[in-house]
Amino acid sequence: MLKVFAGPVPVSTEFIDFDIAVTVDREVPKYGLWFVISQNGISFHNSGLEIGERKWRVPIAIDETIFEVEGLKIAALYGKELRMRKFLRKVSSMNVDMILGYLKTEDYNPYALMASGWGCAQYTGAPTLVVNLADDRIGYSLFSKMNGFSDGVQLLFERYAIMKAPVEKGRNLNKRIKRNKGLKND
């Protein structure tokens, strides 16, 4: 299981142990692996250094949407991409481990989240974390593929959360976590 923190950076200090984090805050901590999502795009930071980004525009190639994170492939999609079946099929064919989505809606609508996040998880089979900007509120949701034990809705529009995404962690990531813990303990 991949432990993911989603929420404001100050709150993350309550949780000492997570593998990757997702936030909309601009100030990124000097430790850990962070995805920062905004209305313009998404950037990926390792120990405070920005090492990758995707602007929210039509990609020239599908590879542009994928971040290689310590042995994991994480796709970053926005808006209508989360509901484009053909697009999702291409992303899925790249063997992604997880999908990060950004969705802007006028109001909070759980059905819009279901259509985008839950639907994406059902179609691709990859756990999907959606950052939803609804009016001026931010909510984090996590969806996974439905099975006999779960309806696939792990988390719906929470202000912050630590969640376990059903992702097999790569060997590299395990090493990285140990180093991060060392940094935090210093």
């Binding site: 053909k86 697009f87 609508n109 819009a112 259509a115 059902q122």
Partner: protein, 273 residues
């Protein structure tokens, strides 16, 4: 009493037409208007002892749907099993063919006489034969078709968006039902991801000791439904009979599709890239 008389006459006329008039005479058709109002019939499985009872049961549902203005009525998968006296798996091909012909005559006759489009799906060994019966007595088969002024497809294909399909039909029969989210998994989700209207009708009840469940529904993209939930009509129960009807606004759907369609994505997703 009135019902009994009605049943007798409808059966009598059906037998007369199928035995003495092999080519159906078209009494009336309503092909001028485009399909805009659809119905999904949720059937609880029952084994019929004769074709007349089956005929009357189908007719009753059609009449009820017609009363509510439906032009296309979607029946679930596997209704031909209701006519089979023994298990489908142990029947010979000639027995299956005989039942299938009888079953088809019922739908052809009713669609012609009632002037409606009827969708049904027969089980044939491990496959399903999906068809639409038109008011002029024609049977349309295949994964996609032009019917009643609409581009209609059956659930299962992928390129609905490219082919500009407007309405997808899903006649279904499933034993795995894991709660209400199951309703969202097939036709609802397809509707959200390829921007089409979708009609899903389930066979429920017990067939040969196996319980079948399902909640039939009529769906559209969330943007075209007033309640913003993608649901135009939904059955009340996953185990009882039901009939649901909804109006489909194809102009509104077209506007949304035009907004979503993006040539840059089309280029990215073309098979050459």
């Amino acid at each position: 009493m009135i019902n009994k008389l009605k049943k007798f006459f409808s059966s009598f006329l059906f037998i007369k037409r199928t035995r003495f008039q092999p080519h159906v005479s078209i009494k009336h058709t309503k092909q001028g208007s485009k399909i805009s109002r659809v119905a999904a019939v949720q059937i609880r499985f029952q084994a019929f002892k004769n074709v007349n009872d089956f005929y009357y049961s189908v007719l009753k549902n059609i009449e009820e749907a017609k009363e509510q203005g439906a032009q296309l009525i979607c029946f679930p998968e596997g209704m031909n099993l209701e006519l089979q006296p023994i298990s489908h798996n142990i029947m010979s091909d000639s027995q299956r063919t005989y039942i299938s012909e009888l079953y088809s005559k019922v739908f052809m006759d009713i669609s012609t006489n009632e002037g409606v489009y009827i969708s049904e799906a027969q089980k044939w060994r491990n496959t399903t034969i999906k068809s639409i019966w038109t008011p002029d007595g024609h049977r349309l088969s295949g994964e996609r078709m032009n019917c009643g002024g609409r581009k209609i497809g059956f659930f299962g294909e992928e390129n609905y968006f490219d082919d500009k399909i407007e309405l997808v039909l899903n006649p279904a029969m499933t034993r795995a039902w894991m709660g209400d989210y199951e309703s969202f998994r097939s036709a609802w989700l397809l509707s959200q991801q390829v921007y089409v209207y979708a009609v899903e009708s389930y066979m429920v009840g017990n067939y040969e000791g196996t319980q079948f469940f399902g909640k039939s529904g009529i769906y559209g993209p969330i943007e075209v439904t007033n309640s913003q939930n993608g649901i135009l009509a939904l059955s009340k129960s996953e185990s009882l009979e039901d009939l649901i009807v909804a109006e489909l606004d194809f102009t509104r759907l077209e506007k949304i599709v035009n907004l979503i369609r993006d040539k840059n994505y089309d280029r990215l997703l073309s098979d050459n890239t």
